[in-house]
Every structure is written in C-alpha cells, then in structure tokens.
Amino acid sequence: RRELPDGGVRPNAAQFKQLVVTALRELHGEVGAALPVDVLTYEEKTLSAILRVISSGLVKLWSALTLLGFYQNRRCAFRVLQTSPFLLALSGNSRELVL
C-alpha cells in the first residue's frame, strides 16, 4: 500500500501508473520500465494505492519510488505503508490489532 502526499493536482489511476513507470525508468532504465507492475486499487481521495509486483522486482520498485521527488514540478514523496506477499494481509495492520 502506498501513500502519496501532494500539494496540487491529483493524478488519476492512469497517471499514477505512468508516474510509477517513469520512476522505474529513471532509476533502472528500460529494464526497470519493463518490470510488470499492476495497480490493483487506487483511491484518488486519499492518493493511496495497492501495487503488485513480482517478488524479485520489489527492491527495484521500492528504490525507484523512494527516489522519485517530483510530480508535475511539485515536490512529492511516496510512503510505503505495508508490504506483504498476501493481499489479505494488507487489509489491516496486524500490529494494531486489538484482541
């Protein structure tokens, strides 16, 4: 799950995917841009999304997103909230589970 704080224009789902692919291309070149990344869900209100990537590409994706600083000449930052190999685990934060 990723959260993206921003100052102005909100990207839609396609622009978000374009942003991710651009970040990969800057850091890892054509090989990185060819990494199959899927945007599973995207909420424009909170600017958060769930991305899916092959496990060997996690390091490349995470590093590319961390180093992406600008979106349409505005500063922005990606915050990775949670990563897990199972989709179900992303629905709740198990550390804050109240039993």
Binding site: L24, R25, E26, L27, H28, G29, E30, V31, G32, S63
Partner: protein
Amino acid sequence: RYVLCEVVSEDPRCRQCIEDRALGLAVRDAIARVHGDYGLACCSISFTVKYLNAYTGTVLLRCRKDSYRLLCSALPFVRYLESRAQRYPCFLNTLHVGGTIRTCQKFLIQYNRTQLLRLLQNCKNEEERQCIQKSLLSCSLTEEQSQSGDEEEDDGTE
C-alpha cells in the same frame, strides 16, 4: 572482468574514427538507457577501455566483476559511434569474457589465427592470395620477442 568485443560496421570510414573516448561514451550512454541511473553508476565505478585496435576493430573493456552482466546486456544497444560530430552506425560483437587480460590476449591470438585462415579461403583471386601469403611469411618470430611476433601477425592482415 574483461570483455573482448569487435566493432562491426558497414561504413569503412568508421574504422578510422574509432577512439577510446568515443567508444567509452557510447557504451556508457547505452548502459544509461538500458539500466538507468543505478546501472550507470554501478558499471562506471571502474569502467575503462583497456585496448583498442582500429585496424581490426577489436576493443577490450574492463569493468567490475559484480556488474559485468549489466555491461554485457547493454552492449547490443550500442548502435552508433559518434566522433567529430559525425555518427557512424555500427554494432558490437562480444567475442570473449575473461578474468584477466592474459586470457583475453590468448583468445584474441587464437581468434585472429582462425580469422586469417578464413580470410585466405575467401580470397577471390590468386593475386590477393599471393599477397597475403607473402605478408604472412614475412612476419617472423624472433626468439626473445615471441609476444610481439604474435601481434605482428595480427597487423599483417587487412
């Protein structure tokens, strides 16, 4: 790791303008395109063009052991050499990857020998054949300098 490649080009003027800086820039540019900033930084740590032979188009590149795969995968993306504001289309053939310069040199000597034989077979007329045979026989191996004698064998053709 040392990567031995050969520059193949249809344009005969390209051979004269092969120089180490132009080639280094072209290879780095290809790595940047294919592997991005990370790949460029990774491979450029100790990347140099060690040896260049403009007559045969042989190039020896040097890079780190950890990133030689990035370099090798980016070599097919070198499409042109640029020097003195002119672009020459060419491509690089990878001949051999070795750990030391000595192994690459041994391979190069063997390769040049087989190339000479192949060139001799491809000669169209008898005159060229005589010419090549004469120049080959005139390269002599002296006893104390057998290495330079082998290299003379490389330059004897073209």
